[in-house]
Each structure stands twice: as C-alpha cells, then as structure tokens.
C-alpha cells in the first residue's frame, strides 16, 4: 500500500516572499504536474494540503509555500507526513522544449520546476504574480531559455506570444489558466492546464476537489491536476 511517509524538514529558505521547504529522506517525486499531500502531524491544520514536490539541484525533495497563506503553516513544521506521488502530470510525449511555452501564475508556477529536467532542455516561461517580491520563484525553473514576467495589474496573457509554439503548459489561478487556454485554442495550439482545488485526501475518497470538466463535476485528484484544456467546461 502507498502510504504517508514521515520525513524531517531539513530547512526552510526564503525565495522572494515564498518559502522553499526542503525535506530529508528518500521521497518519490512524481513527474511535473503531479502532487503530494502533506500534513504536519503536530500542527493545527486538520487536513493535509496538496503541494507540488520538486527536486533541488542536489536532489533534495522540496516544495514551495506562501507563508502568508494557508499552506504556509507547513513551513514551520519539524516533521511532515507526505503521501506521494499522486495525480496525473503533464503529458510530455513528443514535447520539444524549444516549441513549448510555459505560462504560470503565482504559486502555480511550482508545477514547472521539474520541467527543464523532464524535457531535457531550457524552457520558455511567461509568468504573472500579484507582487514583484513573488517573482524570484521563477529562479527555481532552472535552466530557463527565456523569461517574461507580468506583475499585477498587468495580465500574464498580455505577454503570451504563441508564434512558433506547438504546446502550451499552463498553471495558476482558474481565471488565468482559462484565459491562457482560450488564447491557445484561438491559435490552434494544444494546451494542458494544471488546476487547483481544495482537497482533503488526494486519492479519490472525499470528492471534495470537484472541478467542472467535460461539462460535469469531476474529482481533480483523479482526473488531474493536469488536464487537456479542451476539457474545461
């Protein structure tokens, strides 16, 4: 049985206004777009939280949190219980880094950190953040071939140029990924989106993470978090 693994928090370091929580132990890190459920067994939060695990350059498993918001409490934990890997990530079959555009927003950029390694080449990134002190999170997408950053109120979609792009990978708040999906659809470019939803379990038990896909409510933990953009209702 796949079960939660108890790991110690090695250290927490600031990346702009976000925090990277580095973990000890031999955790399985799923492909980009998959997720893990993380819980502080001594913390105040009752439920685990979904996070995107990635590997630091030295191989250390880690995840990004915003200390100012809900999941951020995990940054202060000494040990964590981690259920990983979960969900479906990006389908990178036949994807070429040179013709793939990554479009993300806020903490959603976390699902991109493993993409350069998965694609075997530097990636092109367009990202949007509420505040400029969040933008250093993009340094975790390493190596990046090009970067463009929109800080609110500028829209990330203002910076998206799909010339020569054959695949769009998007992640972030729902309105943003929908806007990106619409741009890709208008240009006839295939697009995959990583969605977010409140989750209690991560393994299809609670039905809490419902999102509208194919015109009906479906569990994001089972169907996604990455889905083909055309499935958005």
């Amino acid at each position: 049985m796949k079960e939660p693994v108890g790991v110690a928090v090695r250290r927490t370091c600031a990346v702009g206004s976000y925090a990277v929580v580095e973990l000890d132990g031999d955790l399985e890190v799923g492909p980009p777009g998959t997720f893990a459920m993380v819980r502080d067994p001594t913390g105040a939060a009752f439920l685990p939280r979904p996070v995107g695990l990635f590997r630091r350059p030295d191989g250390t498993p880690a995840f990004l949190v915003d200390p100012a918001h809900g999941v951020g409490a995990l940054a202060g934990a000494a040990t964590l219980e981690v259920l990983t890997p979960l969900g479906r990530g990006f389908d990178l079959t036949g994807a070429d880094a040179a013709t793939t555009l990554i479009v993300g927003g806020g903490i959603g950029a976390t699902v991109f950190f493993g993409l350069p390694a998965a694609l075997g080449a530097p990636v092109r990134v367009v990202a949007g953040f509420r505040e400029d002190r969040q933008a250093p999170a993009l340094d975790l997408i390493e190596p990046a071939a090009s970067r463009a950053v929109a800080i609110a109120p500028q829209l990330v979609t203002d910076l998206v140029d799909l010339t020569g792009v054959e695949l769009v990978l998007a992640s972030g708040p729902a309105p943003m990924v929908r806007a990106v999906a619409a741009l890709a659809a208008a240009a006839g470019v295939p697009c995959q989106v990583a969605l977010e939803a409140p989750m209690a379990c991560g393994f299809g038990a609670c039905y809490g993470c419902a999102v509208e896909l194919d015109g009906t409510w479906q569990r994001l933990c089972i169907e996604g978090p990455v889905v083909a953009a055309e499935r958005l209702a």
């Binding site: 819980r39 299809g204 993470c209």
Partner: protein
C-alpha cells in the same frame, strides 16, 4: 469475529460511507479497503448525480465540513459497472449505502440490490443533510423513518442498517422507529449540519450553502447519540464520528456500539482504519 446484525465480520472496524472509494483507493494506493472488515460504498441514488457545485469542502476547528451532494453513477450503472469492479478488488463484505428522495427510491433500489450476490448488506442513508429536496425529512421524522425501513425490510433479505443523523431533537425516538421498522443495526452518526462563511463577503463558503461537519469536532455529539440509542434499542450499533485512534473506538464500544467506522480520519491518513483495528486487537 464481530457479528453485526447478521453480518459476520473479521473485526469491528468499517469505513464510513462516502469516505472511501474502493476503486480509486485500489488504483491510487494499491489498497481498496484500507484494512476495513467491510467496505461501505458511497451512497448510491436511483439516477446519476453530478453532485454539488464547488467549493465542496473546508477545514473547520477539529475537522472539516463538506457539501459533496451525493455524486454518483445512479443505480443502473452502479449495478452493471461499479459493483462488479468493486467486488473484484474488495475481499470483504460490501455494504451498499442507499440514498433517495422518496420512499419509492429506497424501495426500488433495495429490491434491485437484493438480487445482487456481491451485496452483503444495505445501509439506508436517511440523513444526508446536503440534498435540499431530499432525505433529511425522512431521517428526522419518526413515522417516515419507521415506514421507509419497513418497506425496504419487506423487499430485502439482506442485513439492513439504518444510518441516522445527529441533527435531530430525539435520537432515541428515531432509533426505536428504525428498530420497529425492522432494521438489523443502526449506524450512528452522520455529519452534523453546519456552515462556514467567507469572512470577506459574509456569504457561505460552500457552494451548497450549508454542509456536514465531521472529524473529532463531531465526536462528543456522536458518542452521545450512540449512548442514547443504546439505551433505547436492542439492535446492533455501528458507532462513528471523529474516530482517529483505537482509544476513540473504545469510547464508542463502551457507549454501546457493536462496531465502529472510520471516516474523515481516512482523508488525513489512509492508515487510520488499520491503526484503529490493530489498536483494538492489541497489536
């Protein structure tokens, strides 16, 4: 061995309905039942249902609140697809939770499920607080509860559990009604009706407005319901509400439960049912 209203179980720990999808758990975790002695399905309804609009869950102090809204494939596809697939990965008795919006819904489903060899027992969900047009009116009324139990009893020879809500004026009265209607066991209790607000807007956070509170926050209320029902009826009781550890389960057994169910704790940690089972058996 635990004897639960005609159901013979290896040990006294079940899952609560709606907290474990055997097929998903098998696919994702490689374990369909998480060590439970019987598998209780998510509530099925006569017709397919999409469930409530998001958001469906939120954390509350000591637990969570949900308004899932009984999404499901409907009875026909449940019997033709979900049940056989579930039986292929579940090696313990399958208890099918049945929900509905009228007496006829319960009776028709019970009749159909009585013919299914994979179904070991039925549990009537008379208490789902989330479906606006639905079952709360049956589960909160003594006469309705007795009548629907009696009608289902007449259509099935399988062990019949009746699940009751804690959000009622008199649990004892409803427990007696279910017993009088022919229930073999009671399941006590279900989520308690609650609400959380978006503090920025002052409007309900959940898509459906209100929801059901579960987790340790529910435990004292559920334990009282079990003790109250124990004093009122002779039939077996499955106790649940915020059970996380074997000690929690022992409280329910001491209050008169025959068996216990682990629910929301599964979301926190899928090892929870085994932890409770092993703790109870002294492992």
């Amino acid at each position: 061995m635990t004897e639960l209203g005609g159901l013979r179980l290896e040990h006294p720990v079940l899952n609560a309905s709606g907290t474990l999808d055997a097929l998903a758990a098998h696919a994702v975790l490689g374990d369909a039942t998480l060590g439970c002695a019987a598998h209780v399905t998510k509530t099925i309804t006569p017709e397919p249902r999409a469930g409530n609009a998001a958001p469906r869950i939120a954390e509350v102090p000591g637990g969570m609140i949900n308004s899932i809204g009984l999404p499901g494939p409907g009875l026909v596809r449940f019997c033709s697809e979900v049940l056989p697939a579930t039986a292929a990965v579940v090696d313990v008795p399958i208890v099918v939770s049945v929900g509905g919006f009228s007496h006829d819904d319960y009776v028709a489903q019970a009749e159909r499920l009585d013919a299914e060899p994979h179904v070991a027992a039925l549990e009537l969900n008379l208490s789902c607080p989330n479906v606006k047009s639905g079952c709360i009116s049956i589960g909160t009324d003594r006469r309705e509860t007795e009548a629907v139990t009696e009608q289902v009893r007449a259509r099935t020879s399988k062990p019949l559990l009746v699940k009751l809500s804690p959000s009622v004026a008199d649990v004892a009265e409803l427990a007696r009604a279910a017993e009088a209607g022919g229930a073999d066991a009671l399941t006590l209790t279900k989520t308690a009706r609650g609400m959380v607000l978006n503090r920025w807007t002052g409007t309900p956070l959940l898509g459906a407005g209100t929801g059901g509170v579960s987790g340790p926050a529910l435990r004292p209320q559920a334990l009282a319901a079990v003790a109250t029902a124990r004093a009122a009826v002779a039939i077996a009781i499955v106790g649940l509400g915020g059970i996380e550890t074997a000690d929690d389960a022992r409280d329910y057994l001491a209050a008169g439960a025959t068996a216990v169910a682990v629910g929301t704790a599964i979301f926190r940690d899928p090892r929870a049912p085994r932890r409770v089972r092993d703790g109870l058996s002294g492992i």
